[in-house]
């Protein structure tokens, strides 16, 4: 931008105040995260939620399905820190059990869409030509359908279960990954060192892994975090709509169906269950934001 007039450029006349931080995947170190406030907070929150999920898979204060662990509609108290629901089930236990569902579904969705999306993006970006055009069109069209709507459409066809939610979400998130991977690949494809590698006879695949991947990786990592947060939200949303894990199995979304139903009698149910979802999503979002800053410091200032 050498045409920026002087009036805008006079600030630090020709000075380099410090070396620009380099970023990239190698910048993601324990040290970096600990020193970045948001990343640290995010990592902590995420870790707590993960811990709850892990613990919840083999131990909860009460059995999440057992009725009458206490009187129905008990507000939060020592014996039942999150209260009890209409059947006297302990809400905290149900939340913990639900955590497992949410986290697994989201992780599965992210993993699946990461794999498929990367493959599509790589194919489109690297091969170019007709393949690229066709794939890109498909990606554009799929991205034109609002995500949740598409997921709902798919869940319609599969039996409502945690697995089908995961599959549906894979079908929604894949395209975003594909687009990101493709643009990274395209950006790198014509760089001199890639051309040079080709000239030296490196096979396509090795070029991809050695030269293209390092550029793509940081963006992917951030997107993984973002998608994971969305996964938790979407799984809960689909559960709330009754199309996910079916009762009496607890999932965060279906807990909120009950919450809405018994709003007058047990307001602590929706408040508590929803708050947990929020904290989980917030944690992952913070972590994602922090990672983005660490990996690409030049984007700093875009958000606080």
């Amino acid at each position: 931008m050498s045409t920026v007039p002087r009036i805008a450029r006079i600030g630090m006349p020709g000075l380099r105040v410090r070396d620009l931080p380099t970023g990239g995947v190698q910048a993601i170190t324990f040290h970096a995260i600990v020193h970045h406030r948001r990343a640290l907070l995010g990592a902590l929150l995420t870790a707590i939620v993960l811990l709850i999920g892990v613990v919840g898979s083999f131990w909860t204060p009460y059995d999440p399905m057992t009725f009458d662990t206490g009187p129905a509609f008990t507000p939060p108290e020592l014996a039942h820190p999150m209260g009890t629901d209409v059947y006297g089930r302990d809400i905290l236990s149900r939340v913990m059990a639900g955590a497992q569902v949410s986290l697994l579904v989201s992780a599965g969705a992210v993993l699946g869409s990461l794999i498929f999306g990367t493959i599509i993006g790589l194919l489109a970006g690297y091969l170019g030509g007709f393949v690229d055009v066709v794939l890109t069109r498909i990606v554009d069209i799929m991205l034109a359908i609002p995500g949740l709507v598409l997921a709902l459409g798919l869940v319609t066809l599969l039996r409502p279960s945690a697995f089908s939610v995961s599959v549906a979400l894979i079908a929604v998130y894949t395209w975003q990954f594909a687009r990101i991977v493709r643009s990274s690949v395209v950006a790198v494809r014509h760089r001199p060192y890639v051309e040079a590698a080709k000239g030296l006879g490196s096979s396509g695949l090795s070029i991809v892994f050695r030269d293209i991947f390092p550029t793509v990786l940081p963006v992917l990592i951030v997107q993984v975090a973002t998608a994971f947060a969305w996964g938790i939200l979407d799984e809960a949303a689909i559960g709330f709509l009754g199309l996910g894990v079916q009762p009496p199995s607890p999932s965060w979304g279906s807990l909120l169906i009950e919450g809405r139903q018994y709003l007058y009698d047990a307001p602590w149910l929706p408040v508590g269950a929803g708050a947990v979802v929020m904290v989980a999503v917030l944690g992952v979002n913070l972590l994602g934001d922090g990672l983005r800053d660490i990996v690409d410091p030049r984007s700093g200032g875009a958000h606080l």
Partner: protein, 333 residues
């Protein structure tokens, strides 16, 4: 305030920026005057401080820069004592700024008419659309913009580069300022358009407005400036009328700059003479005379110590002076 009071009187002007705990000076202890109705050229390479100097006259050096001066007077008034509100009133109406990229200075979503009249509205409180339009038309005619009526309704990006610059000048001129600071106004334009704009600036000068013409291009200085100040590393190193300085440059830097101009006619030179080296950065100014590491004269004299140890302190009361130890001795080349 008699007619002979200089329009601008600056003494000991310094502009500092805090950097990494210490401070750095973009402009270092500069003094000069600008009379009414003259064009003063301010010449230098990048990082010489010339643009910052121009901005400081408007008190618009961006933070965290700080401006300090023993004396900073405009039209007899002390600029450093004015409040922000008073400064706002001066800007645009008594002192105007024109920069190189005219398009970048214009609001992309408002028409030419709206842009030009905004200045009138904000300074004079005029509301009448008819009057505003007449003033705009007159201002655009004054800068010789073709097709005034049509262009009033256009948006900035629809105009050519030369027209954009004319509109920008019109905006600066419409309130009849006493001083225009022009920072490389023609550098981005075609040669023919350049000539027209320069002619326009001369006319503006003739009608009584002073111009501080900031540039790196000595050729344009020769064309329209009355006096010239050569800046290097935050200091003025030579000052005089254009005729004097071009005919007998006293400072080796000025000599170098002039030598790198291609002469019209005659034999093409065997080599383009450029001044060796790069201009120094404000945080790393050479000791003594700041130009000495690049000074051909210094080398040819066997690198005398005085250039490294002492900052030249010229007699600035002379009409034509230069900040060089050997210029003071009267030995130019």
């Amino acid at each position: 305030m008699t007619e002979t009071t200089p329009l601008i009187r600056v003494e000991g002007l310094t502009v500092e920026f805090p950097v990494r705990g210490s401070t750095v000076r973009a402009v270092d202890d500069v003094s000069f005057e600008v009379s009414r109705g003259e064009i003063v050229g301010l010449v230098g390479e990048s990082a010489s401080g010339k643009s910052t100097l121009g901005l400081s006259l408007l008190r618009m050096v961006p933070p965290p820069g700080e401006v300090r001066a023993h004396r900073m007077e405009f039209d007899g008034r002390d600029l450093s004592a004015l409040t922000e509100s008073q400064l706002r009133q001066i800007r645009g109406s008594e002192i105007s700024l024109i920069v190189q990229d005219a398009l970048a200075t214009m609001n992309p979503v408002t028409t030419v008419l709206e842009q030009i009249t905004q200045v009138v509205r904000d300074h004079e409180g005029v509301r009448s659309r008819r009057v505003l339009r007449e003033r705009a038309v007159q201002a655009l005619r004054d800068v010789q913009l073709p097709d005034v009526e049509m262009n009033l309704g256009r948006f900035p990006h629809e105009l050519s580069g030369g027209m954009q610059q004319r509109v920008a000048i019109a905006q600066g001129l419409i309130l009849g300022p006493k001083l225009i600071i022009a920072d490389e106004p023609t550098t981005a334009l075609d040669v023919t358009v350049q000539a027209e704009i320069l002619a326009l600036l001369k006319q503006i000068r003739d009608s009584g407005t002073s111009i501080v013409f900031v540039t790196h291009d000595l050729a344009t200085v020769a064309e329209i400036c009355d006096r010239v100040l050569v800046m290097y590393a935050g200091r003025i190193v030579e000052s005089g009328t254009v005729a004097e300085v071009f005919a007998e440059p006293q400072h080796p830097y000025t000599q170098g700059l002039l030598a790198s101009l291609l002469p019209l006619g005659g034999e093409p030179p065997e080599r383009l003479e450029a001044i060796p080296g790069q201009p120094p950065r404000p945080d790393a100014w050479p000791s003594g005379c700041r130009f000495h590491p690049r000074c051909v004269l210094w080398k040819s004299k066997g690198e005398p110590h005085i250039c490294r140890d002492e900052d030249p302190r010229p007699d600035e009361s002379q009409p034509h002076w230069a900040a060089c130890h050997f210029a003071l001795e009267g030995a130019g080349s």
